[in-house]
Symmetry: C2
Subunit: 331 residues, 2 copies
């Protein structure tokens, strides 16, 4: 009899999630039926989207949502062999029984030299988010100036490196000097610590006096108020995340963006990677990112929390900005 | 010696423009040089954009901006014949000396039966704004539900009628019962008076319980706060105007739109018709609108103020929503 552990959300979060909002439970799993397989999680992803989505789609006591890299440990489904690895979307669980339909295989040429956790990061959802958001929503031309915030995060670090490969001028904002140093190391033309600059206004103006053609938005809120002022006419804003508003119980307010959108003729578009998973560009992005990583053109960094029992702490730490690159939980 | 009268903006407007903010001046025009022509204005356009653009591009004492239909009364330019009509962008002036470069001829097949003022309305800038905004920015599919506010205005009335020709389901909001009646007369599926509904929330929900795919935005502000809540996933918002914010001295605030844009995967795009004037779609729109009007498929209404001396009053009345259809000043 296999026992699976799961982290549940005891109650909906108020403000920043707290350790006591989570509860570890255990379940005995039933024996496999024909067509089923049993997987054991090796790495889990913790991502900002889980905060707002808990509100939109979970009820008190539900298992937290999320994806993992998991290994087939038993199979009654001839299409799945024991020992193979998949990305599953099974929530915060150590063991999963699946019919295989919701599993995404790791790219077939996955090299031994790379940690499989990258399938949750630079070669997985956040990496492909960067790839698609940049290509399909921002659509910059070489020489155009791109602004990325939360730039040292799982998505931002990849946005930045793809942007440099493509020849865009690149400015990143992040929340610590260590992160800023990392951004410069991976090729950002300019980077600043938004927590310590005397004025965000000045920082954005100094970095690109003419303004920005593209803005890859991960933060929102007051950062966006200022950033939108610095967009060039016909600028494109890819709204990929909005982490500064996720912990609000009462929605924050700010000056209406519509007059700026109108008079600067901006295009602001929200996108969720889940809507792109079954399109060819998703696989294209994964293949391309894997190639760039193997060629050394894209570097990755992971912030690893060891132990499933520490997953809530890892999640809270990620929301607090403790990670450079991808926040990962390792079994 | 020809004397031209002009309306100047004495000082930048504070809140709603007032009559004393305008001053009528007279200028003696110099004799024409070779290559020049003299035009006399017949109709002037007053439009919402003049309010925010006065702030962006005029200084105290400048002649108010705007377009007119004007007739060539003298010509030292062989390309322009006396008696021909053009749309000029010469500001609030009775007479204009031009080198011809900034003039736009009325469509060549202009029928005698139609007032030339339509070249400033249904067949001019506002009509083409509706045509392009709907086609290029909203891009609805037949059967999709479209929301238009300021629906009885110069742009809204044309948006609505094009939408019906194309087979979209159509909801309009306007500011009087008379306007609502007019909207139903010209084919809106639903229309309501936003000033008298008990709840905008309820009005939008009742009109389309499933929500809206497209939103043609002329108003902004608190109307938009509610409307955005009712957008369907992947909805498109064409930001064409924002009249509820134009008279603000201090920018209004509201809940941030970015979380909604993100989680509903909306696209919000601002557009100014001036950026489209030299593209083929502008002429296409004009030709198409003229054809629809001659076929009786698009109806027009004009709110005419007689006398150049009443132009400030006509402008203020338009900002206050006195017009159904296009607000025009007639010489």
């Amino acid at each position: 009899m296999v026992v699976s552990k799961s982290w549940t959300m005891v109650r909906h979060f108020e403000g920043v999630p707290k350790l006591e909002d989570f509860k570890l439970i255990e379940n005995e799993l039933a024996p496999l039926k024909d067509g089923e397989l049993l997987l054991e999680s090796e790495f889990w992803s913790v991502d900002p989207y889980m905060r707002p989505y808990s509100k939109l789609s979970l009820k008190d006591g539900d298992v937290m949502m999320g994806t993992q890299v998991a290994r087939v440990v038993e199979s009654k489904n001839p299409a799945f062999a024991v020992g193979d690895y998949y990305v599953a979307r099974a929530g915060w669980k150590t063991h999963i029984i699946s019919d295989g339909k919701e599993l995404r295989a790791l790219p077939s040429n996955w090299p031994e030299s790379l940690p499989r956790s990258l399938a949750l990061g630079a070669v997985g959802m956040p990496g492909v988010t960067a790839y698609i958001g940049l290509k399909e929503i921002c659509d910059p031309k070489p020489g155009e100036v791109l602004l990325v915030n939360s730039a040292a995060g799982a998505v931002g670090t990849i946005v930045g490196q793809i942007a440099k490969i493509k020849g865009y001028v690149l400015l990143g904002s992040a929340g610590s000097d260590e992160k800023v140093a990392y951004l410069k190391e991976i090729g950002f033309d300019e980077a600043f610590n938004y927590k310590t600059v005397s004025s965000l206004e000045e920082a954005l103006k100094t970095a690109s006096p003419e303004g920005y053609e593209c803005y890859f938005e991960n933060v929102g809120g007051k950062f966006a108020d200022v950033a939108l002022q610095h967009m060039k006419n016909f600028g494109r804003i890819a709204v990929c995340g909005n982490i500064s508003t996720y912990n609000d119980s009462v929605p924050q307010t700010g000056p209406y963006v519509q007059p700026l959108i109108l008079f600067k003729q901006l295009r602001m578009e929200g996108f969720l990677i889940f809507s792109w998973e079954n399109k060819p560009i998703y696989d294209e992005g994964q293949r391309q990112l894997l190639e760039w990583i193997l060629d050394g053109k894209v570097k990755y960094n992971e912030h690893i929390t060891n132990g499933f029992e520490n997953m809530p702490a890892g999640f809270i730490g990620m929301l607090n900005g403790e990670n450079i690159g991808k926040a990962i939980i390792k079994a």
